[in-house]
Amino acid sequence: MIAASLPIQRPEHARLLVVDARGNIRHQTRSNFIDLLRPGDLVIANDAATLPASLSGRHLPSGRPVEVRLAGRRSLSPDEVHRFSAVVFGAGDFHTRTEDRPRPPELAPGDQLALGPLCATVEALLNHPRLVSLRFDAPPDQIREGLARHGRPIQYSHISTPLALWDVWTPIAGPAVAFEPPSAGFALDWRALASIRARGVGFATITHAAGISSTGDAELDALLPFDEPYRIPESTALAVSRARAGRGRIIAIGTTVVRALEHAATFDGSVRAGEGLATQRICDTSRLRIVDAILTGIHEPGTSHYQLLRAFIDEATLRRVDQELNAHDYRTHEFGDSVFIERKTQAR
């Protein structure tokens, strides 16, 4: 597998590896993914826009430069933008691979960080020398302005040019609560949404504050995904019940949608509307109550996204998928190719 190195959301030749419910694998062009949908199915995407969550600045006690990557918050409420969990890096920027970045200066509770127009205080270390809880002391409007104007999208060294927000916002992006783009949604543009509708397929959204995908630090990455707040509109919960009643499939666009829907799942196979905090990890032993299929990126073994796929297919099938992806040079990362995986046939 190779890294997709250009920030193009819908490359004409983006590919899609399809795994059906019986474990059969085939290859197709991603732009035709709508052909996989059947009338009565419900497609659910994450409408979170991406916050420019990388903040450059200075650790005031030591005077040394830092890059702060905001990584999580506890609530989606417009008034609760004071507290974030964050990963702190030393000098430098995305051009250096995260695993090669210098460590930040030693951080202690009470330390102040000057981040452009914003000032943040380290409230606590979160069981790791570079994972902290940060507090911004300003009215919410001022914090939002500081983040919106000073922040840059979090990015990694596989893309060499600086990303702009329009590179990382999906076409359906709404509230900027994701720390990295819910990139499976890159596949959906407005034309695709019109085709989905024309096919008699439903479309709904949730909002899920997708966290960071990698810190380059194995110990930290083992803690991923962090807890992520989400909101499920009543209209979406209703659409799920309706699709299920009509034997339609629930098709999640991206791992964040799976995490939110399954976290909000009830025993009767519906989802609770409203806000929640997804804390669970989805893996081979997880039982999916809501989602029947997923469209997602090409995830590398070892990542939490990859672990999540084990809930959809068994180990042997997943290994065959990996072989096919490698043999056909699928492109990884957010601007890469995709897989469409239908959950193996089982009782719900």
């Binding site: 409408d47 826009a49 916050l51 420019p52 989606l76 409420s77 417009p78 933008v81 919410p140 409007d141 939002r144 302005e145 983040l147 919106a148 104007r149 702009a164 927000l165 329009w166 916002w169 999906t170 076409p171 359906i172 992006a173 709404g174 509230p175 900027a176 407005w190 949404l193 019109a194 509708r197 479309f203 709904a204 959204t205 909002t207 509109p233 009543e234 209209s235 979406t236 209703l238 019940s241 309706r242 009643a245 009509g246």
Partner: protein
């Protein structure tokens, strides 16, 4: 599920609205009008001192400093609008640039003046609307309704000499509105392009300094009329959404009963 079927009498209660050019003229009047009707309001303007002044005047409103004619300002503005309001139901693209001041024949219009009018009156509304489409579409799916009001002018239709830059840019905006409206009807986003009439505003004073101000419409009057137009669309949309939701609930209840009572 019952609160989906509740139809608020006032479509502005809890409505989340954003207005560009909100520190003077029609924009400022709209901030006051929508707040009075019970909406949550965010407004955008270029000058920080004026944004702060209006924020002091309307404490409930969220003031955002930004220039819609600048591409790099669009996403920061969108982040702040949706962040402050928790979503967006109504966008009013009101900020406008007159082109050359004093008004000039097209043959005497500097290219830069035309470019600035296009950047503010066409590219700005296009980019900001595009950046906010996701939020608006979510709002429409949730049955709240979604409206974009582009402030137009009779100069968009009539070829008034010396109004070339302004008229051509407003004509483009007017047509843009119609095409957006056709394309996004299925997504539930409704576009309005309305001419508020000749108002007693700073923009009009720049264009026609010799005008008899007593003959001009007060911006507060125009703001009321525009708010009424938005209200009519929202009421229609919400009534339709409620009817659909009611149908869905009936169907869902019906479907979920079937397996439980196979004999009936």
């Amino acid at each position: 599920m019952t609160n989906l079927t509740r139809l608020p009498l006032n479509p502005f209660t809890g409505l989340r609205a954003a207005i560009t050019g909100g520190t003077s003229g029609l924009g400022l009047a709209l901030v006051g009008e929508l707040l009075t009707r019970g909406a949550q309001v965010a407004f955008v303007a270029r000058r920080r001192d004026l944004v702060q002044r209006v924020s002091r005047q309307h404490r409930a409103a969220h003031g955002i400093v930004g220039d819609v004619s600048k591409k790099n300002d669009i996403h920061p503005i969108a982040i702040q609008i949706v962040g402050a309001l928790g979503g967006l139901d109504v966008l009013v693209n009101n900020a406008s640039d007159l082109g050359p001041v004093p008004l000039a024949l097209l043959g005497d219009t500097e290219c830069e003046d035309l470019e600035r009018a296009l950047a503010t009156n066409v590219l700005g509304p296009f980019r900001l609307t595009k950046a906010l489409l996701g939020a608006l579409a979510s709002s429409a799916r949730e049955g709240r309704g979604a409206v974009v009001l582009n402030v137009s002018s009779d100069a968009a239709i009539n070829p008034y000499p010396r109004w070339g830059a302004y008229g051509a840019s407003k004509a483009a905006l007017h047509h843009l509105s119609s095409i957006w409206n056709a394309e996004l009807a299925g997504d539930g986003i409704h576009f309005l392009s309305l001419d508020p009439g000749d108002m007693d505003t700073p923009l009009h004073a720049l264009a026609v300094p010799e005008a008899d101000r007593s003959q001009l419409k007060r911006p507060e009057t125009a703001a009321r009329e525009l708010a009424d137009a938005i209200g009519r669309v929202l009421s229609d949309r919400r009534a339709a959404a409620d009817a659909r939701a009611q149908e869905t609930i009936q169907e869902t209840l019906h479907d979920s009963r079937q397996p439980a009572h196979p004999a009936s």
